[in-house]
């Protein structure tokens, strides 16, 4: 145990704005900091990002560390690691939280090793142990079949948090906080990677992670053709089409539509699971949906343990009739 104090979150910047996960981390971090009776700080790293500090304060931070440098425009392991190492050594927090994003899952473990501490990735619950005052980190393991609670005696305790699990606070523009600028102190020659280009898949219609309705198909769809029918249903419900990992592995759908542990995490109001068994790896990406409906010909499929409503039957018969009736009801 050490003299480290405070909860620090890393506020990820996407396209010049604080990303939604930053607000979620501030909400979660605020609660942990209050439980410890300590302060909550945010670190904002990037190029041209100093204007974002006030937003982090309004969303819960007492203090914001800003590291603004042209070399930090893109996320690079070496540069961000060097910056976080420096900020943590200066601020000496007890807890460091990041989002379970492409950045967080890359940066958190490397930072933990550099600081000779430990990290828990993809946490879905975080709380302070009332006796030991240590952070208890709950994360799914074994593809979601089980959950583990980790803790550690070494500071800082580092965790990444799964998106859309924690609630942001209502912004309070009257809240005051301190902004501290830290020099990145980077040596460009020490950055051993460079991003040559970014290739984005073109998304037709609504983005999967923003869609209020998601219609997902699994291996039981039998091929890419069936997904056109799911797309028709999704469009009618103003939703998006998702799929399981085997569907992507077979090339029936682009990788960007994969829902699950290693794909997208979605939390729509309405999730329609078609011809998918409901493996724990898939459910890790959709189990927080408000209503899950299952259509599967196997009455023993695990998805019926996860869904609130279901039909046992072949999707080829169920989906056209269902789509027709939905269309009629939507008038």
């Amino acid at each position: 145990m050490s003299d480290n104090k405070g909860v620090m979150i890393v506020g990820e910047v996407v396209e010049g704005k604080l990303s939604p996960i930053a607000a979620e981390l501030l909400g979660c971090g605020r609660k942990l900091a209050d439980d410890l009776g300590q302060e909550l700080s945010a670190v904002i790293i990037g190029s041209g990002v100093s204007g974002l500090a006030e937003q982090a304060i309004s969303q819960g931070a007492d203090k914001v560390y800003v590291v603004d440098d042209a070399l930090l425009k893109d996320y690079q392991t070496d540069s961000y690691l060097s910056v976080m190492d420096k900020v943590v050594k200066e601020a000496m927090p007890q807890i460091v939280l990041m989002g379970q994003t492409s950045m967080g899952r890359d940066l958190a473990p490397r930072l933990a090793f550099r600081l000779e501490t430990s990290a828990a990735l993809d946490c879905i619950a975080l709380e302070i142990d009332p006796d030991s005052k240590r952070l208890l980190q709950t994360k799914p393991v074994y593809g979601g079949n089980a959950q583990a609670i980790y803790s550690s005696d070494i500071d800082p305790q580092i965790a990444t948090v799964r998106p859309k699990v924690m609630s942001p606070l209502a912004p309070d523009s009257a809240k005051k906080g301190e902004v501290i600028t830290i020099d990145a102190g980077l040596d460009a020659s020490a950055i051993r990677t460079s991003v040559l280009e970014t290739v984005l898949e073109e998304v037709v219609g609504i983005k999967l992670e923003d869609a209020p309705v998601v219609v997902s198909g699994g291996r039981g769809m039998g091929g890419p053709e069936g997904f056109e029918q799911l797309a028709e249903l999704a469009k009618m419900l103003k939703g998006a089409v998702g799929c399981t990992r085997p569907v992507c592995d077979s090339g029936w759908m682009p990788d960007t539509q994969q829902v699950g542990l290693t794909g997208k995490i979605v939390t729509p109001d309405f999730y329609i699971a078609v011809a998918l068994s409901g493996s724990s790896q898939h459910m890790a990406g959709c189990s927080s949906s408000k209503t899950i409906v299952a259509i599967n010909k196997d009455p023993e499929a695990n998805i019926f343990k996860e869904a609130q409503y279901g039909v046992v039957g072949d999707w080829k018969k169920v989906i056209p009739a269902f789509t027709e009736k939905v269309k009629e009801l939507l008038g």
Partner: protein, 266 residues
Amino acid sequence: MNMIVCCKQVIDPEAPPASFRVDAGANKVLPPQGVPPVISPFDEQAVEAALRIKDAQGGTITALTMGNNLLRDVVKKPLSMGADELVLLEDAAFEDGDGWSNAYALAEAIKKIGEYDIIFCGRQAADWDSGQVGSGIAEILGLPSVTLAKKVDVADGKAKVERVIPDGYEVVEVSLPALITVSNELGEARYPTIKGIMAAKRKEPTVWKPADIGVDASNIGANGRRAKLVKLFQPVKEGHCEIIEGDSPEEAAVGLAMKLREVKVF
């Protein structure tokens, strides 16, 4: 091109969820009856990434697996796929590690293996899903790392890596030697050929104990952990699904739509 691929033997993640059991007292997962362990699928894809480079420009691939009582038929799979060498860190002292102690032991073994241009790991192991060992090895060895690769090309002492991001990928160039973790978007790992299986049968793995890689038993496996496992449990599923019946699937489908409309799901 010398490549090392870290491969973990795990409980088969494709085993039916109903067979999954936790021994809550011991905080351990009980291996399912009759389902043999496998190489963690992301690690198999890491082997595949290395094989594609070997196919294109030649090179040697050393698979590295750590554990205890490792099943030879399982851990030899990378050999049967086309890897050249197999090194096993096999001892009771290597068991039950966390990301920290596992990365430490693997990094020390990699130092002993010596020459390498690329170290490949799966993005996370299919058992504890910790996702830290690759980055940890890179940090211990002072190497640059690129995580979540879906494609790796090598030229002129550098690797060009397509790294998966939420809406596509970024192309990252990294100087070698480097550590690269592989994601499932790389595509399916190849099946072993009969010739490969025969060659793997004849090949004896190199087995190292903690002393062989110069590590102290207090720093590896369960003794070397920094993360304490406080509790392991299976989340309780509520499981009350209302099944909409009908004389035909079409009729059930209509009933489902009406029910969902009635409860204002859409």
